[in-house]
Subunit: 307 residues, 2 copies
């Protein structure tokens, strides 16, 4: 089970956090950008290559502290297919370093098309009898609005290739309640979606009690974290919104079970741009600043849970 | 307004249909695949280039009949970043031929990240002071589960760059009702989502009465098409599920207003693989078979509406 691998690594490193690699070019130190603009001109390719060097340096600086990275597909697509090439390279590099990779793509579609997304991000595609991993992540975030038809192709691939998914349940943004908090009978839409996650994962439960179907629940909604932790005992939570969006360590503690497991907390900008916040930090020290921030984050969160 | 451009073209060609370019390698005639495998070996790049030749030939054969194409991102991602390069090239080629391009990506995320998706697919990204169009489609399909935060960045870009979006409302798949048909008070979830589309589009209504915020409503649910057509007078419908999924022309007629406008019906596989269904059609005739199928489809649909 993919999440057994993730949880194993969380226990080894005593660190239930994941770093979101959401690289805007503005985050990349100037000296890196300038090098590529000089070599390759002002192009999307140069921008993408600058991002790649930045990502690789961040991974080098954190892989022995943090169990996982979560590259957000949007930021790579923003630099066109050259950016998407760097998404692929980043996934491969992090896996070589022993990290668990969750691609944040929030993909969703019906049957055959969802199968194509599942193949793209978690599976293998056959070309002339040879199989290739198009992106090769360990897990993918998905949107369950379309129902079981959109999830089933993923479940098959999770079983076959030892992968996992995280379904959007209660997202961290201020307007998430517009649909997600509305009541269907006595239950909120997010609770109905959460129940569907428990159901979808019920035949793939790993040795720590968590299935290969996880849920995204925002750090910015601590009450719902507690409610959903009780309601969804076999569903691993991916918790965005810590730090930059205002979710604190005390609030996210409710996402964890009594053993300090069952959740992984994401931080993106606070890690990637740590060098911009530290006083007198030269931009050449960006990776070490990121390392200091992931250590700070680990201590902050672990101090509130029973891991 | 982007949908004014689309509707203008629909009227000119008297054809409210769109061809989904969802290219699996299995759809591409063998003689094309073999050429690329011979030249470039068995690689994702060769597969992607074979798909590109196939796509370009299909576009050449249909652009004077059909107003729009809808490339489905999943099928390009399935061939890795080389596939995504072909998505870009396909969009550019179709636009050069005067077609309206809607990328079917069903993207969704919160604020800053949704901005990155919007920039990627509909906008322009700045690199060292120069602006690039990463993908440059005219419209994008999106998932509204996250609420207004996930839609607002798109509305800004739609206004700035003359683009449109289609939000998933009632999808064509059998299990779409698991969440979408559930009742929130007296209304189904899909109706609540539809109302949100009307609201999101209310400040960007074009000369034909339709806003830049459209809705995806499946051909497989003809009653909901009629219901939603009445309920959402300013919302253009993208209607998948005609043909292969079982939706008929009579059923989709309910998606249109009294002038035969307000909807565009998609067909993917039936067009792309027309040559496999026609009797005694050599595979070298695949593009002309697609042309015959889009003409058949146009006649079928136009005969049921008042365009």
């Amino acid at each position: 089970m993919a999440f057994d691998r993730l949880i194993q690594r969380i226990i080894e490193l005593k660190n239930p956090t994941v770093v979101g690699l959401d690289p805007k070019l503005e985050y990349v130190p100037d000296y890196i950008c300038e090098k590529y603009f000089k070599e390759e001109g002002t192009t999307l390719k140069a921008a993408a290559n600058a991002i790649q060097e930045y990502n690789f340096a961040l991974i080098d600086a954190i892989y022995d502290i943090v169990p996982a990275i979560k590259p957000q597909a949007a930021y790579y697509e923003m630099y066109g297919y050259e950016g998407v090439r760097v998404l692929y390279n980043t996934i491969q590099y992090a896996k070589e370093k022993g990290m668990f990779v969750m691609t944040d793509g929030k993909r969703n579609d019906i049957g055959a098309t969802m199968e194509a997304y599942a193949t793209a991000h978690l599976g293998r595609v056959a070309v002339n009898g040879i199989e290739f991993e198009p992106f090769g992540a360990d897990a993918l975030t998905v949107n369950g609005y379309l129902g079981t038809d959109g999830i089933k192709p993923l479940l098959n691939l999770c079983e076959k290739y030892d992968k996992g998914i995280f379904v959007l349940v209660k997202t961290s943004n201020p307007s998430s309640g517009e649909l997600q908090d509305k009541k269907i009978g006595d239950d909120a839409v997010y609770a109905v979606m959460g129940d569907m996650c428990e159901e979808w994962g019920s035949s793939q439960i790993g040795k720590y009690g968590y299935s290969s179907v996880g849920a995204v629940v925002g750090a910015t909604y601590p009450e719902q974290l507690i409610e959903l932790r009780k309601r969804l005992p076999h569903t691993m939570f991916l918790v965005p919104g810590y730090g930059a969006q205002g979710g604190g360590a005390q609030g996210v503690a409710g996402a964890f079970d009594e053993n300090g497991l069952g959740a992984i907390v994401n931080s993106s900008r606070a890690v990637m741009c740590a060098y911009k916040k530290e006083e007198n930090c030269p931009e050449t020290d960006f990776a070490q600043a990121a390392r200091r921030e992931v250590i700070r984050m680990r201590e902050d969160i672990v101090s509130h849970i029973n891991l």
